[in-house]
């Protein structure tokens, strides 16, 4: 039992991200409503972002903004210890990923509005019935 606790403390973040991802993926596959699926999609993407941010975390380190560097010139004098600052690279990647996810979300919402305009429903089973009603495609 005493061995387990450090393991949990060391890894729980990764496990929880997996759980979040499973929630999102499940919503994307199994939900009937298209908007619900979109929410699932977003949860899925944020879970991945959480994973990346977890990679970047470093114990006993502060946010990746160099202190005492505002002056510019005298910044060279101060020695910067890498262990004091959190890894900035995953943050950069995730900024990009957030942007991509909001772009996809916007386009998907626009598509959902278009689908609703045409079929007056967003439920997948009803949509399937409407598609049968239209008849074979041209």
């Amino acid at each position: 039992m005493m061995d387990l606790l450090p393991l949990i403390v060391a890894k729980y973040n990764y496990w929880l991200y997996v759980i979040l991802m499973m929630i999102g993926l499940y919503a994307m596959i199994a939900k009937n409503n298209l908007i619900k699926k979109l929410v699932g999609m977003n949860i899925f993407q944020t879970a991945i972002i959480l994973f990346y941010v977890s990679i970047g975390y470093k114990r006993d380190a502060t946010i990746p903004i160099i202190q005492n560097a505002h002056g510019g010139h005298d910044a060279h004098a101060a020695v910067i210890h890498a262990a004091d600052y959190i890894n900035p690279l995953p943050h950069v990647l995730m900024l990009t990923a957030i942007v991509v996810s909001v772009a996809t979300f916007g386009v998907a919402m626009a598509l959902a509005v278009r689908v609703y305009q045409r079929y007056q429903t967003l439920e997948e089973d009803e949509l399937r019935m409407r598609l049968v009603d239209i008849g074979p495609e041209k």
């Binding site: 999609m41 993407q45 991945i48 996809t104 598509l111 278009r114 045409r118 079929y119 495609e137």
Partner: protein, 492 residues
Amino acid sequence: MNNYPALIVVAPLLAALFAGLAAWIEERLSYPIALVGLAVSMFSAFKVLMQVIDSGAIQYRMAGWAPPMGIEYRIDLLNAMVLLLVSGIAFLNLIASYKSVDQEINDRAGSFYTIYLLFVTGLLGVTATGDLFNLYVLIEITSLTSYAMVALGDRDRGPLASLNYVFIGVIGASFYLLGVGYLYMQTGSLNMADVANILSGIHGSSTVLVAFILCMIGIWIKMALFPLHVWLPNAYSYSPVAFARIVAPLMTKVMVYVMIRMMITVFGREYIFETLNLADAVVWLATIAIIAGAAMAISQKNLKKMLTYIIVCEIGYMVGGAWMGNQLGMTGAILHILNDALMTFALFLAVGNMVYKLKTVDLIDLKGLFGKMPWTMTGFVLAAFSIIGVPPTCGFFSKWYLILGAFEAGAYHFAAALVISSLLCAVLFFKIFEISFFEPMSKGHGESHASVAIEEAPVSMLVVSGLVSLSLIIAGLYSGTIVNTIILPFLK
């Protein structure tokens, strides 16, 4: 300073932005801007290819930072070939698109060209980049543009098909991103060459295995390997013709390129074929994909849909060849990227011409088409022969390498599937030839049967179609040269 590698990607991007501006100010300007951008891109790609053949791989440092810290473009023979292919096809298709865009999307042509150029930028960037995360961003550009285009095509079914495409596409891209995350966890780097270097020391790690599986699943979803292909037929057949003509030949092939790049450059052949024992399973999967693709193609009643299932089948060829684990199979797969892109492009150009005149391309509508559109049909026949694999055309040669590779690896089931699918394709295309050559024109057009007036597509479309169809034979005749100067030196 030699800036050609950057220009390949940046020229279409700049052109896209100027076209986007022009769409609001003077819409007629966007088409020439797009032409110039793609022409510059193609010229740069050609220059780079020549340079690479002469003096080996080129490295280009974005923002001047040395590779693991900054992003680099590393262009070797494989890259350079695919870059020229993509920019060339994009340029030719743009020439052919002028009329069909006029017909299909007349009021928003400027925005269409912008999206088109962004899509091409994405494909070129995916091909040129040497950075794992940069690849993800560019994959997203290509996907986002395709979502928009698919929804624009068919008014009734387009948006829904596109929304389903969004869900599947996002899952694919996210899996890839996760795979990169797992890799980053273990290596701390994102540069492909650097990652490969570090990976060679930690082959046994379970994290690397999971990273590999995630990346592959992500890429397979994007390239529509058989069980993951469900989005492709709808998405491609509902998009506007001008876009279908470029997305069908290029998107999947570029993804095959990405797979080969991941296999060879990032994970390394040693890891895949010696540490992992997945190769046999994947070749079986590819075999099933080939048979299933061909079988589904033969049951379709719409020409566009049919061709999309043929793409699914062709993906099976390339995946199988790449996973064969020997030089011949890989050669076949790479050669097939080139050939299949050309063949599919030729087929879709012909279909585009038909759609321009007929509006719908159900098989019944093709009756008597040889009389009505002789030149289009000639191009179609050439492309069809190439898909079937009739000798002087290029399709034959890549299949030949693939079969040789299959025999060498002892994958007889794959060779058998190849032959069977070729036969099925032959049946399918001869059915079309029969309908369009022997059956008389359907009535209701108000014309007598005796004199069928020739009603061809516009000259610009015909010329491109003819050029590409001819290139199929030329690529076939020069297959040996391509293999010896590009593919074999790359695989060494």
